[in-house]
Amino acid sequence: MNSKKGSGISRREFARRAAIVSAVSVLPAGSLPLDSASSKPLPPQSPDAPKLSTESQAEADARYEAILSHYRSRFSDTQKADLYRLCLLAQPSLDHLRAYPLENGDGPALYLKPLVEREKKAEPAAPRATSPAAKRP
């Protein structure tokens, strides 16, 4: 990045934009600007739709709106109804996940250990060296 030549953004500008983006991400769905088409009513909920809290309902609705804001023309009305149903069905999993108590120090179970361990060892000459089956009678 070279902000002096105007081909990028300055650190200050980057911080300002980041602050705006992070603020937008925590706004309630209802306060997000909607395009004209997205003001259409949401599809009716199917009888098997999960019962959600007001906040979770708003999040699921926002998820549906976010998809339509990008891809609206790709879906038939039937698909939109199905999409809305899927958005609602996704919400309870997220609610359960967020309700589970986690401490700040709980680390994510990323699968980096093999990479870290391998760096300490010499690479094998070929993958076959590890498979004993070829050598067995």
Binding site: L86, Y100, L102, L110, R136
Partner: protein
């Protein structure tokens, strides 16, 4: 021996005949090819049969064996590979229309390993499109149509290794390679009445395999017996520099020999009491009998319970988010609409919406779960329960509504990368197979093999096979 019997011989028997030159690899390959040509299309079992290259490989194997160069128990043995494994110059469609013309110029590591031990690839097994990563509502979610269960062709094989299950159950090949992200080896094994091994995450290289959820994808065999699975696993396991998730070289390889006997160590077995909230009545009846066998032959078997927590939710989010990343281009381009299944056409858009914070939260929960399972495995070497709570479903079943049940063990096992082995343990009144699964701590694949072999040493269910019309 009646011709029909040879198709169902376990690997050890086939290998013995081949090694002693009583059975020709060319003859065996031709027999399986003929049978696959006849029954494969009826079952929608194959994406592709490769008779020319198979016979070429068989001739090479035969020549080598005749000259005294016997490579081991898979030499000259015909097999099929799920159509998400790259095979040089052959179509690798991932079961999905957008990739129908895809051809790779290299072999997946698993294919390389099997080629080096002399196994003969006779075809690519049909599969659920994109291994079901985008979700699917119907068994027909495949380029080949719904895979039909050899035990009852009005029923499904389960997915996503649907063709692999059909091929082994129908005796169209000696074994088949499948993959599992969540249930795709264990469920087809259960529905089709075959033995299927889901190895520990990282034991088998995924290089050249379609990525669905890279932190959960695993490759393993479906075969006649637990011992057959072990033999195939020994050939395909091992560290691979091309797959950075494979375990280190000193931990990745797996050596199996029947001389490592059933009493290699006394196994502490836990019979799971909360793996399935509800069992189909036919499955429950069979399972009761299986439990008696387990308790009889594994002294000191105790009841065990899985930890409680949002582990299915975490697994769902990990699979959904990673799948959205794996197929981002397909979703963004809109070509996801070319998928067969109505659910598959749209659910990727929802998967794209999961936030990084929620994904990382799921990974944190995974680590907590790993510790909980380690604690459970301090008391048990192997956990046992039904492989599925229901038998094979009719082909037209709406899987989203009628095959939706909690699967905490599937979630936990796959989220933690635990090995599992499913074996047949009986039949329902409608003559549909029921499976039993053994699960062990990560890295202890031998424990599930030992436990399943012990079960099969005292039962005959793995010797049953369907009568094909």
């Amino acid at each position: 021996m009646p011709a029909e019997e040879i198709f169902y011989l376990p690997l050890s028997d086939l290998a013995k005949r081949i090694e002693t030159k009583k059975l020709s690899p060319v003859e065996l390959t031709q027999l399986y090819l003929d049978r696959s040509t006849k029954f494969g299309p009826r079952l929608n079992a194959y994406a592709l049969l490769t008779p020319d290259s198979a016979l070429e490989q068989a001739k090479v194997a035969e020549k080598e064996i005749q000259h005294g160069h016997y490579r081991g128990p898979l030499h000259g043995i015909p097999y099929a590979a799920k159509d998400l494994l790259a095979v040089k110059d052959l179509p690798t469609t991932w079961g999905a229309k957008p990739y129908a013309d895809q051809v790779f110029q290299y072999d997946a590591t698993v294919i390389e390993h099997l080629t080096r031990v002399g196994a003969i690839l006779i075809g690519k097994a049909a599969m659920i499109e994109l291994a079901g990563g985008m979700g699917y509502r119907f068994a027909s979610a495949s380029l080949q149509g719904p895979a039909k269960n050899p035990w009852n062709t009005n029923c499904w094989t389960c997915g996503s290794s649907s063709g692999s299950g059909a091929i082994v159950a129908a005796g169209l090949a000696a074994f088949a390679i499948g993959t599992e992200t969540w249930g795709s080896i264990i469920c087809p094994s259960a529905f089709c009445g075959v033995s299927g091994l889901r190895p520990t995450y990282g034991r088998v290289s995924r290089y050249g395999a379609m990525a669905l959820a890279p932190s959960m994808d695993k490759i393993g065999p479906l075969a006649r017996t637990a011992e057959d699975c072990a033999r195939v696993f020994a050939a395909i396991a091992g560290h691979d520099p091309k797959d950075r998730s494979t375990v280190p070289i000193d931990k990745g390889a797996f050596t199996y020999s029947p001389s490592l006997d059933l009493k290699a160590r006394p196994l502490k077995v836990g019979w799971l009491t909360n793996a399935w909230p509800k069992l189909d009545s036919g499955v429950a009846k069979v399972l009761l009998a299986a439990e008696k066998v387990v308790r009889k032959f594994f002294g000191g078997t105790k009841s065990a319970t899985l930890p409680d927590g949002p582990f299915e939710d975490a697994a769902n989010i990990v699979v959904s988010a990673e799948c959205a990343a794996s197929f981002r281009g397909l979703i963004r381009s809109g070509r996801v609409s070319e998928l067969t299944d109505p659910l598959g056409q749209i659910s990727g858009y929802v998967n794209e919406q999961y936030s990084a914070a929620d994904y990382l939260r799921a990974l944190s929960i995974r680590e907590i779960l790993q510790k909980k399972m380690e604690a459970l495995f301090a008391s048990f070497d192997v956990l046992v329960t039904a492989a599925q709570p229901i038998p094979a479903t009719p082909l037209e079943t709406n899987l989203e509504t009628d095959l939706a049940f909690p699967d905490p063990l599937g979630a936990i096992g796959n989220l933690c990368g635990l090995p599992a082995l499913a074996v047949p343990c009986g039949f329902t009144e409608n003559n549909l197979p029921v499976g039993l699964q053994f699960v062990a701590r990560a890295g202890d694949d031998f424990a599930v093999i030992q436990a399943a072999r012990t079960f099969q040493a005292h039962t005959e269910w793995h010797r049953k096979h369907p009568k094909l019309a």
